[in-house]
Symmetry: C3
Subunit: 419 residues, 3 copies
């Protein structure tokens, strides 16, 4: 069925009801999807990869943000640079492998040859009037936040990336992500709009009923709860949890691991949130047995039980950093009703597979959890197709961050498309 939004985007943005999920066209309309791609994904900092994807000079990786293909390259000075993955001759895609290693970037069509700095080095038969200097690859803005790579396709990227970087660096630095390697990665296509994938990530109201593997080392209280529904035992439990978190924050920060919550999900252009949280009982990590997946710990950690640092960024990522490994998640919209979720598991770069870690154990929890989430996202996408769909209320106790995701989204769209 052709999906045509009857109400203009501007009107839909204006009438958004705070505390409620979005109207259906935000999840189903190809027109709004196109606006999302232009306004959100072409103008904001998008988490796309990690430095560990391109460890050596000449290593490259290709990321596609909608129709925009970008090649990320480690140059000979060990800088990470990024170019539009389009030949300047007749526009052929230049690099075809997700990850590869190159000396120069050579187009397969007519062999135009570019250096790792994007300069056009050689183009045959173009004649005397042709100026190679005008035909270098187009650069893309790229920033590494302690090894996490963010791209911005805009000419002038949002300036507050620096604010986020300044605040986040002390949190991330102890994990020393630049000295990790990608032990495993996987892509799945979720059958839903990218915003449903993000909303699903921003609450754990659904965790108890849907994520048996993930919830083992998690405190039920950490998902949020309606205080008025607690009985006396529940109230005491919640208080104990609050004290535990506070005590842990104090202890970790005293040891040089910043931990307290920073939240700028809807008050910055480059919105984000972070917090280091304890795991239940003697749990060390997000594995099936809750023990560290990798014997070789990351960065400055020497206690495998150091909780988990969580990092959420608008519009498209979340991350969990433990003492032994880290997991990063990036969402790439495909069309109005499909999204790619790319997950990478990082361990210390010197850890040896089969000796220090077992890949099956490392990946098990999040492979299962992603699959469960994908199914849930599909339920919402299917529901949003119905003319009977009507935005319902978010729980004020467990879905506050979903609401903030929508606030941020609506705010950014309104900024671009008028109030």
């Amino acid at each position: 069925m052709l999906d045509v939004t009857q109400t203009p985007l501007k009107a839909l943005l204006k009438r958004r009801r705070p505390g409620y999920c979005l109207e259906a066209p935000f999840y189903t309309s190809p027109e709004i999807f196109a606006a999302d791609m232009e306004t959100i994904f072409q103008r904001h900092w998008i988490f796309v990869a990690v430095e560990a994807d391109v460890p050596e000079p000449g290593d490259s990786t290709v990321v596609d943000i909608g129709g925009t293909s970008v090649v990320i390259v480690r140059d000979d000075d060990m800088n990470v640079v990024a170019f539009h993955n389009v030949c300047r001759h007749r526009g052929a895609r230049l690099v075809h492998d997700y990850k590869t290693s190159v000396g120069n970037l050579v187009c397969r069509y007519h062999a135009w040859t570019y250096g790792l700095d994007g300069q056009l080095l050689y183009a045959e038969h173009m004649g005397d009037h042709f100026d190679t200097a005008c035909h270098g690859l187009k650069k893309v803005h790229i920033r590494s936040l302690e090894g996490l790579l963010f791209l911005c396709l805009a000419d002038e990227p949002p300036a507050d990336f620096d604010v986020m970087a300044d605040l986040m660096t002390p949190y991330l630095a102890p994990h020393d992500l630049r000295n990790t390697k990608v032990a495993f990665e996987m892509d799945i296509i979720e059958p839903g709009n990218w915003k449903l994938t993000m909303e699903n990530n921003r609450e754990c109201y659904h965790c108890a009923g849907n994520h048996p593997e993930l919830t083992v080392p998690l405190f039920a209280e950490g998902f949020g709860f309606a205080p008025e529904q607690l009985d006396e035992a529940g109230r005491q439990q919640a208080e104990r949890y609050a004290c535990l978190v506070n005590d842990n924050h104090g202890a970790w920060e005293a040891s040089g691991f910043p931990s307290r919550c920073l939240e700028h999900l809807d008050d910055m252009v480059t919105g984000f949130r972070t917090e280091r949280l304890p795991l239940d009982g003697d749990a060390e990590s997000h594995t099936l047995d809750t023990k560290a997946a990798c014997r070789k710990l990351l960065g400055r950690f020497n206690d495998p039980k150091s909780g988990a640092l969580h990092f959420w960024t608008q519009p498209n990522s979340w991350h969990h950093f433990m003492a032994d490994h880290a997991v990063t998640f990036a969402v790439f919209p495909i069309d109005a009703e499909h999204s790619l979720l790319r997950t990478k598991w990082l361990v210390h770069k010197d850890a040896v597979e089969g000796v220090d870690y077992d890949v099956e154990n490392l990946k098990a929890v999040w492979v299962a959890t992603n699959d469960q989430d994908s199914t849930l996202v599909g339920y919402c996408q299917t529901g949003a197709r119905s003319p009977a769909y009507e935005p319902g209320p978010y729980s004020p106790h467990t879905e506050m961050l979903v609401d903030k995701f929508c606030n941020w989204y609506v705010g950014r769209m309104t900024d671009a498309h008028g109030a």
Copy 2:
């Protein structure tokens, strides 16, 4: 190729030439398909299921009319009720199985729990200000015509359903469909616009050349014929057939089986047609050997040779009721060029498979016939894509009911979109 209708729908409706098939955009345009879904399928009574689909309390079945998913439930008082299949929280699809049996309707996302009356019984963590009474499932109008279930998605359904119900009840009652079971059902996707599927059903001009199994117990004269093309032998044959039909009508009606033709295909909003017709020779039913498929007869019948009651409804169904079994057909549009045809074979609820009936024998004729029709519908869809397509004339002797289908469709669309 992008399918954009150059001529406005209103103009296309206005210039429709009676006695001729429709212009190509009615079969190919996504825009007109969207208008069909909104005007025809969201505002009229749509045949979707039978009571035998949900025999017991808690039994449910899901039907999708375009993007609108509806769950039909047998409640604890044995009433058949229907709800939009969308959770009132964040809009997840609620019921995922085509047929299942439930106590309550529980959303898989955050476990909001609804009773069989649609009331929201339980929603965790929503806080003190949340009113469950405002978040029950949305009801959908549903009517049972002697066990045949019709939905209407409109707030105010066409009132003349009652007229049809009053007229049809005496015809259907003898078959006692409420005491049947679904012995077999199947869905096929026809490669054509839903109107082509319907038009194909409304004539038997194509039967002689395409339906070897179906035509065995049918009288050739019953398909319609040009009287001027008949020779003397043909004329006598046609007269004999007319007398036979008349005699049968008289005999059946005297036995309490209303049989004479009622036709309101294009003069009612809820258009329909019915007639009980004899089968040729000693044929009893629509099976390969023309004998009754089921030894246990339906309702008040005790003679397996009692002809076949036919029932056609606008916009999307047809039905054949014999003494031993019944077959119902419902068309669900998928997109401008595809339609789902759902066929159900009903037998007495106490009939035992393998003893009273053999499923292969029961279904054989219509499985073959549907497949043949699907191919023919595809031929028309393919033809309509050509710029050279031009509506041709209907046969005034064999395609009158196709013409009436188009009259009804054009009338209903004109009523909604202006003359």
Copy 3:
């Protein structure tokens, strides 16, 4: 992602920069694709088949130009005629087989029966008022240029087909294509806009790096080169090649084989180009071992080493005619991002497979080359999807004919859509 062209077609046409490839919407927009189909493919002469496809009376072949299906028939007088492949009754597609042989053309739906001249011969049940004379098949213009079949869907085809025919007949006649048979044919779907398939065909800048099989018997100099980049050895080589071509032209023309270049790629509505060129060393044909693929030579040829006559037509074909066999290529657009390439290998009609020729050897070079080209076309299509795509410059020494293809296209579109 929905593909909507923001800039009107007229503006895009107007701002086309000569010597540069086209802007991205020309390769990606469904709207411009629809305009291409209407303006280019429905109003120009399109190469679609060869007479050898329908050698005997009653032989037919179906070709689809976009949504327009045409059946080409050899009638009883040995004329090749063409009709729209749509029944005049309810518009069913009439002929379903790519190639078949028929007495009359009989619709499978209700058996309307048309003669090989398109006249409606028989339609049952249509009544006394029905006039068969008004319901014959709609004719399509078709022309045979020495056995090469061109269709034009317009009411008034471009008149300059005759100019092309007059000029080309002497070149083609010696190959006597009317006395060939189709030894092999294959369709591939290229993942690109039809214009990218055509542009790829119009240059050999990419050949050295991508076509190992094709280039064996070709002179490197024949692909074009920047003279200023040649060293002394290269310059001598290029001169020798120019002399060789000139000498060959002289010798062939003296023997009755017109050979010199005729070029009307962008100065005629029915644009074309031809030239007979020598093959390198003792190469005779386009086979893996460069020897003639078929022992029985075509038409007036008795020396297997007679070079290759090339024939390019706007908008959709190219052909290579050797002494022993010929290869024809026709491009049929599918949608904005996909095109069908149909290749046919012709040999003398009396040649015997396994005796005079081996099909594997006959087809090997172009099966490989088509596959390589398809990949390259896909690279350009993928690149054009990026917002960073920008038309780059054509090489003035090797891509002149690509430029002329774009000139012709932009000219024809401008003619129809305004300057």
